[in-house]
């Protein structure tokens, strides 16, 4: 039904989007918790910085990634010297680009769900002898699970559809960084491949719908589990 190139693009897309969510999950939850439960100087600045990928042209984000993480970039240089590995033009690089673009969405969703957890329960846990870390892992996070799942799926979908930052930072290498959107773009650029482009277009829609449905299902299941406990 699907051609090898199509399968390759799908598998690569899933791998890259999955890795993207994987690497931003813990920092994303940490930042969301910081924003939801703490007041500190520079909070709004951090909040603004976090939202930049949402409002900047993705190409700009990709270019900034190239500047900082490229082999001669301030971070990339260090990485290259330490490991002999460089991110641009690799699938890992594409995962970094996707993760950066998805980060604000994840943080927003997780922050909202953390804020919805009643601080009174956290205070009660503290009076029962639980330190902040124990409160986080036994009260706050378990109660925020539905939002966490929604955030993760949203981030996954965003990383899956990443185009601008990826093509700028990781380029468009078949089997390496050519994800679904990039493959689609390549087909559109090639005369006479309109039918193949349409197939990929439909595929993209199907995958996006599936991930949204999965998100809904997971969130509803988690909410139901919490509610069962509530009735």
């Amino acid at each position: 039904m699907l051609s090898d190139a199509e399968w390759q693009a799908i598998a690569l897309s899933l791998k890259i989007a999955g890795s993207a969510v994987g690497w931003i999950l813990i920092p994303g939850v940490a930042v969301a918790w910081l924003l939801a439960r703490h007041d500190f100087r520079g909070k709004s600045l951090l909040d603004g910085l976090l939202h930049l990928p949402l409002v900047l042209p993705p190409v700009v984000v990709g270019y900034l990634l190239l500047l900082s993480l490229g082999r001669s970039g301030w971070l990339g240089q260090w990485l290259y010297q330490a490991t002999g590995f460089s991110l641009p033009f690799t699938w890992q690089g594409a995962a970094v680009a996707g993760g950066v673009m998805a980060f604000p969405l994840l943080v927003r969703a997780v922050r909202l769900s953390l804020e919805a957890v009643d601080p009174k329960l956290e205070a009660a846990a503290a009076t029962l002898g639980a330190n902040r870390l124990r409160v986080l892992f036994t009260i706050t996070l378990p109660l925020a699970i539905p939002g966490l799942l929604t955030g993760a799926v949203l981030a996954f979908a965003r990383a899956l559809s990443e185009f601008g930052a990826t093509i700028t930072f990781a380029s468009n290498i078949p089997g390496q960084t050519r994800t679904l959107p990039l493959a689609l773009y390549t087909l559109i650029q090639t005369p006479g491949r309109e039918a193949a482009a349409a197939r990929l277009c439909v595929l993209s829609i199907v995958i996006a719908m599936l991930s949204l449905l999965a998100s809904e299902w997971l969130a509803r299941r988690a909410r139901r589990r919490l509610q069962e406990r509530d009735q």
Partner: protein
Amino acid sequence: MTTMTPTPQQPTPNDQQTVPDDQPTAPEADARALDCKLRKRLGHFTLDLSLRVPGSGVTALFGQSGSGKTSLLRLIAGLDRPDDGRVQLGERKLTDVSRRLHVPAHRRGLGVVFQEARLFPHYRVRGNLTYGMPASARGRFDGLVNLLGIEPLLDRLPGTLSGGEARRVAIGRALLTAPRLLLMDEPLTGLDGERKQELLRYIVRLTREIDIPVVYVSHDPAEIVAVADHLALIDSGRLVAHGALDDLMMRLDLTDRLGGFDAATRLQASVVDHDDHYALTRVMLDDGQPLKIPRVAQPPGSAVSLRIGVRDVALAREMPRGTSYRNGVSARIEAIARSTQSPSINEVRLSVGRQRLRARLTREACDDLQLAEGDRVIALIRSVAFDPRT
């Protein structure tokens, strides 16, 4: 502000005077006393008081809503920081602003029962109970669960509990942390009459069983009379009066604050025998005078505490005949004061044996009978509410 308690300094021998209790305080109880001297701006007034909570018994923080009781409790628990002052439990300093010391709530070792039960919805009752339980308290689990009557609830989720059940679990959860002090913030709020009485009975039983001091926040005089041994009266962040509850209930000048219209006093008595036909119980005051009260369950010889509303006491020069008043006890008038509530009313304080009792009479009746301080009279008691605390 009239503070009966001098500012508690470092514990010294003559610090005994600051313990607002008739009984001498045992040294070990002293080491468990809570001292605080706190100041914190709260919206439109400033909480500013020093208070010593005795190392045993129930101390009620009493005052109208918004008087700063709950804020005080939060400062003691370490959930908020004061602008100035200190909190000390026995020898252990918990807060000392001048030394920048603030032991965080989770390391204070205090049990807190909040107005709402605040049970964790994703843990079963058992999980809630054991959440803060150290291994050393494991042996107390069964006994406490039994005492609170929550054994059948252990595998339920908090969302399935009634208000009273949830409060009981919350109390058990706080006590199973083996706290050195239990703080209770209006634990009966939001319960209806019968559930309220039920939980109150549990709390009264519990406070007799546990050997740690309890701070009990409430704005309900009836609740206080049932539960408390000591009372700290708080108004707009200040301590108005502080001492043994029975003493404060005798203070005619505090009538407005301590119950007003429904003010009451307590008499201690012991059960003599029961009259099953009329469902009455005969009890005896410490000076040997008998009283009849509605049937109670306590066996002969046990001590009971009677709650007597000031409106339920009438005075006569001699025992009248043909009256429906069942109880007449010989009393002596200690003080008569004009009521601050109504110009037609006098508040009268009586001594009955070594105990004291109060009556509320019209000023006209006082003048007709020519009642004066020192006079011997008969106190006619209409009805006696049995106070479950014995």
